[in-house]
């Protein structure tokens, strides 16, 4: 960690704008005030994290936490996860998968690729809100490394 703690930015990749808004509201309710940058597709999210050249230089010295949905219009979240975890600048950034799929093989694949947390979106809204709030509490105590 740098001596001067730098603010952590939450990158939220979620194509459903309603879900994105509900996630943000409930993270805020847990007292997390970090900047949240929302993306509704994979291409623009990757461009932000890895830069237009895809080198990942863009994220050097950033503190990123990635919140990733697996069902995106232009690519699957698994591809994004693989790219983020394969890049030397972004590989240490925690990635939280937040998706509707509870398929065991999908979960294993994500952890194999280096996902840090996998959460299945509860269908019931109260549980959904509750899960996000708990995730928010978790965020507030988590250490996020600076990227190389």
């Amino acid at each position: 960690m740098s001596s001067e703690p730098q603010a952590v930015t939450i990158v939220m990749v979620e194509d459903d704008e309603g879900h994105a808004r509900l996630i943000e509201k409930n993270i805020r309710r847990a007292g997390v005030n970090n900047e949240i940058i929302p993306f509704t597709d994979g291409t623009s999210a990757l461009e932000y994290m890895l830069g237009a050249d895809g080198s990942g230089e863009a994220s050097a010295r950033r503190h990123l936490l990635v919140l990733l949905d697996l069902n995106l219009p232009d690519m699957t979240g698994v591809d994004i996860l693989a790219k983020v975890k394969a890049n030397r600048h972004t590989r240490r950034s925690p990635v939280v998968i937040l998706t509707t799929t509870d398929d065991q093989r999908e979960i294993q694949r994500c952890y194999d690729l280096g996902a840090n947390v996998y959460i299945t979106k509860p269908v019931n809204y109260e549980s959904f809100a509750n899960a996000i709030r708990q995730l928010g509490l978790f965020f507030s105590v988590m250490q996020i490394p600076e990227t190389d």
Binding site: D16, G18, L22, V123, N124, Y125, E126
Partner: protein, 266 residues
């Protein structure tokens, strides 16, 4: 014949996958509807409190009208949105459950049918005795090579229905027997319940369809589930029923369930 079976299996698999995708994709917008309904409710509560704390002398006709909207119209609208989307949630979950069940790999094993029935009968014994009824299991009952869980679900559902749709004016009597049919076995589950009208004999096996007075809880899932399971086991189900007299379900199953290939998960 073999070719036709393969085609059928493929068509069935496609429907299962379709149901799975549909139900999964329908859930996402539903989370939004339920979620923002909750948000709206919270927002209304804030406005409601504001009106409660408003000093009486500052009020006017417009404020009175707004107050009424917040206290009555809005909660009513939200109540309907919530009830309907919760119901939809239940229906989607039912489709999902059916498609999941359809994707489960069957495990053929030696199953003593009498043993299964004893277990299932014990589960409903309390309700049956309470209604002054009885369950007659006519032996001998065969041993099959089949999927135990599927059999339990099929006959458990049929027995539950017999209890659920009993005629309140006479003691319930359920009779279960097996009929030899060569390479197949026929099972009969008869009751003296309220019966099913002739025009509903096919319909009750359809998803979300029910028959008779809608005075019992349920979504119209049980028999659709039962028929899907019976067909997966390579069997068939029919019923004979007369209104006000009773119903007999006939389930015909192969004695030996062939081992199937692993079904592919999406």
């Amino acid at each position: 014949m073999q070719e036709r079976t393969t085609d059928l299996a493929r068509a069935n698999e496609e429907i299962q996958r379709f149901a799975y995708i549909v139900s999964h994709d329908l859930r996402a917008p539903l989370v939004n509807i339920l979620g923002f309904t909750s948000e709206l409710e919270t927002a209304i509560a804030t406005v409601d409190r504001y009106f409660d704390e408003l000093p009486a002398e500052t009020t006017n006709a417009a404020a009175e009208e707004a107050k009424l909207t917040v206290k009555e119209d809005m909660p009513e609208a939200i109540g309907f949105i919530r009830a309907s989307s919760t119901r939809m949630d239940g229906l989607i979950n039912a489709i999902l459950k059916l498609s999941r069940e359809g994707r489960r790999t069957l495990k053929p094993e030696r199953v003593d049918f009498g043993e299964i029935l004893d277990l299932l009968a014990a589960n409903i014994q309390h309700q049956v005795s309470e209604a002054g009824g009885e369950i007659a299991i006519i032996r001998p009952l065969p041993t099959l090579i089949s999927d135990r869980l599927a059999l339990e679900q099929i006959f458990g559902n049929l027995l539950d229905n017999a209890v659920k749709y009993r005629d309140p004016y006479r003691p319930l009597r359920i009779t279960i027997r097996a009929v030899e049919q060569g390479r197949r076995v026929g099972f009969e589950i008869g009751d003296n319940g309220r019966g099913v009208a002739k025009e509903d004999h096919q319909r009750i096996f359809d998803l979300f369809r029910r028959s008779g007075a809608q005075d019992r809880p349920g979504e119209g899932i049980g028999l659709a589930h039962v028929r899907a399971l019976v067909r997966r086991l390579g069997g068939d189900i029919t019923l004979e029923s007369e209104l006000g007299v009773g119903t007999t379900f006939r389930v015909s199953l192969p004695r030996v369930l062939r081992k199937q290939e692993e079904t592919v998960d999406s």
